[in-house]
């Protein structure tokens, strides 16, 4: 088993999930409560990674972070090295690729919170931000956990985007799925099998924990 690839994958997935938690909640909040007419455009953009081939998404990210793009140049000017074919570049691609897996469960969960509870909090003098943390978030915690876990699991399993954006650099961008592909290419079926089985078990355990916990959460907070 390639432990370097496994640790790298776990790190990538965890960071992606954390970033999506922070970035995804404001987007989901906006999507839930905005009455702008062009909201559907944002919804479509967020959902794009669901239908785009990973290679297409990876291609555009690659171009966007390349040394000739403003983003790539700006990054190099500030940080000192290029963005393409680095862990950071891969992280950016992963965040975009898993965006719908976080934002859609968040939005569904926020939308399911009774609007009157939010209004009640506002009329009780509690600010919008505090209301979010004291009413909306506790009542949609199951959906938020689901979104975080789904984006974690989805990132663990991504292949095409990593191949396009990350290249295949040992310890930097070679994730588990790429490693398995390499092993199969090298006809090392035993090595591929071990890593694949490991990925399968980890994914299953994570999902089981989440579903078990979700049920528990509802028992703690009985809905009317």
């Amino acid at each position: 088993m390639n432990w370097t690839a496994i640790l790298l994958t776990l790190k990538l997935a965890a960071l992606t999930a954390v970033i999506l938690l922070v970035v995804g909640m404001p987007i989901a909040y906006w999507l839930t409560y905005s009455r702008r007419r062009w909201k559907f455009l944002v919804e479509s953009v967020v959902a794009l990674p669901l239908v785009l081939p990973p290679t297409v998404l990876g291609f555009y990210v690659l171009v966007a972070i390349g040394p000739k793009s403003p983003l790539g140049q700006g990054y190099q000017a500030v940080i000192g090295h290029p963005l393409a074919f680095t862990f950071e570049g891969l992280l950016l691609a992963s965040v975009l690729y898993s965006l719908p897996f976080a934002v859609q469960p968040f939005t569904a969960a926020f939308g399911a919170v009774d609007a009157r509870l939010v209004e009640a909090s506002w009329t009780l003098g509690i600010s919008r931000l505090a209301t979010f943390f004291r009413v909306t978030l506790p009542l949609s915690i199951a959906g938020v956990v689901t979104g975080v876990v789904l984006s974690f699991a989805h990132t663990m399993g991504e292949f095409g985007v990593v191949l396009m954006v990350g290249g295949n650099i040992e310890g930097v961008t070679r994730t588990v799925s790429i490693d398995i592909y390499d092993e199969v290419q090298a006809l090392n079926y035993a090595g591929a099998g071990q890593t694949a089985f490991f990925l399968l078990v980890v994914s299953f355990v994570i999902l089981s924990v989440v579903y078990a916990m979700n049920r528990n959460l509802w028992a703690v907070w009985p809905m009317k």
């Binding site: 506002w122 907070w221 009985p222 809905m223």
Partner: protein, 361 residues
């Protein structure tokens, strides 16, 4: 100006009728204004605009010198800064918090001791002692309503807005809670605007009634005046109760109570409780009329008076009799002709004691 709330605004809906809110409320003293009208008349919209949850299309709302909304400047105070208490129709208690968590929700900035003191005060005031660890789902409807009231009262709001405060309760509970709510509101130094479509509730709670219909405030006045002397046919159709008079219990006997209404005395079924002051409500169809001043039936209440108005309404006629107070009666048009009823005719009105509905004031 400084001691009142004034609202004159319009809320337009796409493709729907627009709602006009025109109200004045005294501020800083206990005063209950009931916004009365059928469902769909725009009562809740008015309440939501006053709370800042809805943005009016035109007009102005001021509260004790503060401007809450002004369409000309586009300024609108957010609900957070209005320091009001809004009681939602089905209470909107936070399901993930305990009773104590709900009640202290709005006072997170106070220190522990002060918060506990306020909580205890509210639990006592609303008779919720021992329930502080319960979740809303484990409470009865009446208890939920009291928790919701405690949650708004704990931060000492400057104005109370109640949206159909009793409609979520079953009938027996409603009866009991109505009395409690009246006592509570009288004890608080807070002006209240209460929305309801139930005239019993309106009479029981109101110092002043504003009748709404078709998106407008049609008449404002003391409850007995609005209910017994509606300004026009629209208001009359909305209030539906034909006679409302004020009276005082002067004696009780055999399960009946004698009430003094102006210079006349009426018998009614003895009410529960120890209230002395009542509204007497009499439906026009429960009043029978005879020519002359000699009653023939054995009913308790015979009231001699003179007809002041006869108004045909379809197959029946609405007759108003002045007998110490204005009493409305409903007779068939045939009977009106047979009795030759016209203004000035002396008649005797008869009402069964059981048809006199008493509502404590």
């Amino acid at each position: 100006m400084a001691d009142e709330m004034t609202a004159a605004f319009e809320k337009a809906y796409n493709g729907g009728p627009s709602i006009h809110g025109t109200l004045r409320l005294p501020v800083g003293k206990p005063h209950v204004t009931v916004l009365f009208g059928p469902s769909g008349s725009g009562k809740t919209t008015v309440l939501r605009c006053l709370a800042g949850l809805e943005r009016p299309s035109r007009g102005r709302i001021t509260f004790a010198g503060e401007t809450w909304f002004d369409a000309d400047t586009g300024g609108q105070a957010p609900p957070q800064s209005r320091a009001i208490g809004y009681l939602f129709q089905d209470y909107a208690l936070f399901p993930h918090l305990t009773v104590a968590g709900n009640i202290t929700y709005a006072i997170p900035d106070l220190n522990r001791k002060e918060r506990q003191a306020r909580l205890d005060e509210m639990l006592r005031l609303l008779r919720l002692e021992g329930l502080d660890d319960r979740r809303p789902a484990q409470l009865s409807g009446g208890q939920q309503q009291r928790v919701a009231l405690a949650r708004v009262l704990v931060r000492r709001p400057r104005l109370l807005l109640l949206d159909e405060p009793l409609s979520a309760l079953d009938a027996p509970t409603r009866e009991q809670v109505r009395g409690e709510l009246r006592e509570l509101l009288r004890g608080q130094n807070i002006p209240t605007l209460c929305v309801t479509h139930d005239w019993v509730e309106a009479l029981a709670l109101a110092d002043e009634v504003a009748v709404m219909g078709g998106g407008r405030v049609l008449q404002v006045g003391p409850p007995d005046e609005v209910f017994s002397r509606p300004a026009d046919a629209d208001v009359a159709a909305i209030v539906g109760v034909e006679t409302v008079a004020t009276g005082r219990v002067v004696g009780r006997k055999d399960g009946l109570a004698a009430l003094e209404v102006g210079r006349v005395r009426l018998w009614a079924v003895e009410p529960d409780g120890r209230s002395e002051q009542f509204y007497l409500c009499i439906r026009a169809e429960d009043v029978t009329l005879e020519i002359g001043t000699q009653p023939s039936s054995s009913a308790r209440n015979h009231l001699a008076g003179r007809v002041t108005e006869v108004r045909p309404a379809g197959p029946v006629s609405r007759v108003t009799v002045e007998c110490g107070f204005a009493l409305a009666a409903l007779v068939t048009r045939q009977a009106a002709q047979d009795l030759a009823l016209q203004p000035g005719t002396p008649v005797t009105a008869t009402v069964k004691a059981s048809a006199v509905h008493l509502i404590p004031r």
